[in-house]
């Protein structure tokens, strides 16, 4: 690099500095990140927590979007029995079931008995937000 080109870069950067960095830091139109699909959401949840054994994603009408068919009916019953609750946590002697729902999706997962409720609930909220393409929730 010659002295002239070195100096040119320095002059350019100085000019940018004096004019402000708005040209570099202003928000630009970017391609939106692809939202999570329901089958990917289940895979992602299993990667987030080894305690999650299985799960389903349902739409607001109760139609199965991803997961085992055998889980769909009891998952619908669970959501119906919970009334307007947004999150459900049921522990039995054999395992634990967690569910969370948004306006677009419902997620129901089956975990081992020793799953940490706060972590699973956070993961469910996170994935629900990703499914909806919205903002991720703050950590509690």
């Amino acid at each position: 690099m010659t002295l002239a080109t070195t100096q040119m870069a320095a002059v350019t950067s100085q000019t940018i500095l004096e004019r402000g960095t708005g040209g570099y830091s202003r928000p630009r139109q970017m391609n939106p990140a692809p939202t999570l699909t329901p089958p990917l959401a289940l895979d992602y949840l299993r990667e987030l927590s080894a305690d999650i054994r299985s799960g389903v994603v349902l739409d607001p009408g109760g139609a199965l979007l991803a997961g085992l068919d055998a889980l769909a009916d009891p998952a619908r019953d669970l959501l119906a029995a919970a009334g307007s609750a947004e999150e459900i946590h049921v522990t039995t002697a054999d395992g634990a079931v967690f569910a969370a729902r948004s306006e677009q999706h419902s997620l129901v997962v089956v975990c081992g008995r020793f799953a940490l409720p706060s972590l699973i609930r956070y993961d469910l909220r996170l994935v629900l937000a990703d499914l909806a393409g919205g903002q991720r929730p703050e950590a509690a």
């Binding site: 009891p74 669970l78 459900i88 946590h89 049921v90 522990t91 039995t92 002697a93 089956v110």
Partner: protein
């Protein structure tokens, strides 16, 4: 204001016996069914296992767990 004397509590086992008793109590508590519903505002509500509202939730959860068990073995 005079301090109210502390109410005497039932004596609890100490030492190794106490530790074992506490361990059994924890295991028993962990195996007991538990139902927690959280509303839109983030307010949790714990239902008693014998609460009529908890019954369908426990039933659905047990069906889900056994279906997941069968699914993982298949």
């Amino acid at each position: 204001m005079p301090r109210i004397p502390r109410k005497p509590t039932a004596p609890r086992p100490r030492g190794a016996v106490g530790a074992m008793a506490a361990s059994f109590a924890r295991r028993k508590a962990a195996r007991e069914p538990r139902v927690v519903l959280t509303d839109r505002g983030g307010q949790p509500r714990t239902l008693d296992a014998d609460d009529p509202a908890a019954e369908p939730l426990l039933d659905a959860a047990e069906r889900l767990i056994s279906a997941a068990h069968r699914g993982s073995r298949a």
